[in-house]
Symmetry: C2
Subunit: 375 residues, 2 copies
């Protein structure tokens, strides 16, 4: 089977245009990955997710190992077949969500034990078990098992956590083995500290990975602090491999990350916001539940080509949101995912043309000039 490869096609400032080639199809970068936590991108059929322009989905190891279990998905032919998505899937390692969702965690050098948020049952994830689960799922891009402290944290805590994650990265690499057609990504840690980020990057490069994530950001530190780290952290990672910023983010976070050399991102924001009535547009965020939309015959965005904008008024979307109709989640999620993919497509075109700085200026100007509700 073909190995997964990354080709950089153009660069404009630090912004990179590229393509990740996989046996399941190409991933155009910069790429935004919709999140399909429990083997579904909530409120969307997979073909609709594809129609928004997504080349790859993210699946959550933590959720899937608990229900329906990785072993069951394997018996049923793997995650792609199970959820009817034949293009690439990246799975996280489970570590982050053990920390944020489960109860009664115990962290040791060996790994982490925890209780399921669904039924309280006890489970363990080690680097070796995370690799096994992600293999059972059939993930195309596998993430190293890591650990990161909530910020702010003191330097000692950040350093010891980062160093354990680097030992776990080595164990993950060892356990992953050689799997043509599947990639393993390392995850840089080190909080906001430049020296620890450097130490982490060197450790990962010594091990050697198919791609490198910037981890431990978007955990409450704020956009300024995140951008400060992104001003130096991606440059520490190999030029010829994809760089993935985990769990990001709002449209302006995404644009700022791409400007700093990030190639891949994922976030639940477009889908979660779709269910709560927050709509992303070129002009900013619109809250469909507001009474101002009750009689408005206009689409969410007259220049958007998604089904919600082509076929429905704001008044209709307001009505079905207020009536708690499922079609509200379906249409608003579709719109938001479409918007996020349009954003990526716009950036890719701009980088190809060497006009990324002008594109960025237009992006910020359009949002400043809008009459929409702030997030």
């Amino acid at each position: 089977m073909t190995r997964i490869s990354f080709e950089k096609l153009a660069q404009d400032g630090k912004a990179r245009l590229g393509v990740i080639k996989t046996p399941r199809g190409d991933i155009r970068t910069p790429a935004f990955m919709p999140v399909g936590t429990a083997a579904t991108v909530k409120a969307m059929l997979p073909q609709s997710v594809r129609e928004t322009g997504a080349d790859i989905l993210l699946g959550n190891t933590y959720h899937l190992m608990l229900r329906p279990t990785a072993e069951r998905i394997d018996r049923l032919g793997g995650l792609h077949k199970f959820m009817n998505w034949d293009r690439p899937i990246l799975t996280d390692s489970g570590g982050f969500q053990v920390m944020s969702l489960s109860g009664l965690r115990k962290l040791t050098e060996r790994g982490v034990t925890f209780k399921s948020h669904i039924d309280g049952s006890k489970h363990e994830i080690t680097p070796e078990r995370s690799m096994e689960i992600q293999k059972l799922l059939g993930s195309d891009i596998v993430m190293c098992f890591d650990e990161c402290p909530a910020l702010p944290a003191d330097r000692d805590r950040i350093a010891s956590s980062m160093r354990m994650s680097m030992r776990w990265a080595e164990r993950s690499r060892e356990a992953f083995g050689d799997r043509p057609g599947h990639a393993l990504f390392g995850i840089q840690q080190g909080g906001l500290e430049q020296d620890f980020r450097e130490e982490s990057a060197e450790a990962l490069k010594d091990i050697g990975f198919d791609g490198y994530a910037v981890g431990g950001l978007a955990v409450g530190e704020g956009q300024d602090a995140m951008f400060d780290v992104l001003d130096f952290a991606p440059d520490m990672l190999p030029e010829d491999k994809p760089r993935y910023l985990m769990g990001v983010g709002k449209p302006d976070d995404i644009v700022g990350a791409v400007a700093r050399g990030i190639d891949m991102m994922d976030c639940v924001l477009p889908s979660r916001s779709g269910r709560t009535g927050q709509v992303f547009t070129r002009h900013g965020v619109l809250n469909i539940k507001n009474a101002r939309h009750m009689d408005d015959p206009r689409p969410l965005d007259e220049n958007c080509g998604c089904p919600a904008c082509r076929n429905y008024s704001r008044a209709y979307l307001h009505h079905v949101f207020r009536s708690q109709e499922i079609i509200s989640s379906m249409l608003l999620t579709w719109h938001n995912l479409h918007y996020f993919q349009d954003l990526m497509s716009g950036m890719r075109d701009a980088i190809a043309q060497g006009s990324f700085a002008a594109w960025q200026a237009d992006f910020h100007a359009a949002r400043a000039g809008g009459d929409l509700e702030p997030l």
Copy 2:
């Protein structure tokens, strides 16, 4: 504008094959109308409803008059545009749902006053107001405003209620006026009493309508009692007009009604059941939440062409139902609506070929031989 017309194309026993021609498209009969209560067939996009084979939807006057209001829908261009469904829509009169859903009702010869189940606000529906609301919505097939008692009820109550509904039918006809391209249907009442059904049918024929509904059934009387009434009630209605049985029903109710000369039906059952995990198949009902489906790689029905059956295992559908994912409602509703439309299509073909009795025998045999969970 063309008038709405009905043409009977074939008859087999009492079962009728026909077509209702409207400016918004043909309605093939026997027809099943999915219910789009609040301007959406729950969990479905309109184009998906159309793909199941539906020629016409039902909208609920009671719900729409309360939210978003008929006047608002009119200002926004009518219900078809509002909900993005350009084919025919039949609206009920609001009467039945005032009785079943609203609070503090007061019924007089003039009409009914009630409090909204949404916000407690006070409203009135009279025959004249019901015609006005249905006109504002832009309904293609308008129903007379009527009233019916819950069964069992004594003969005096049934007779006085039926006679008031007949006076309301005359007021509805008068208020509706002459609207080419739009049809008005009368509603036969009279409970389970053959003499009152006859009296009601005569009163309606004297007034003259574009179609005739059999009302006041499927309100708890049971299938045997309903079929007893359907053995005589449809025959009392004009041969050359469509006959509509309101609020029916389960697949075997539908088949039995068609066998007795009914042309149109509506019911929330396929969509509501889709949300609660009940799946209709040729072999009977399957409850997707049962643990027996957890590892089952088979589709719901190997002969069904809907997206749920083409693309997903029972194991997946079980998983997303248990995980309370929206895609569960989307896929199961789609399957159920597809099954109901397949049922109608099968009956239409059988009537055309003069083989309806054999088709009915096959229908019952397939259900008897299944290994599925009873409803």
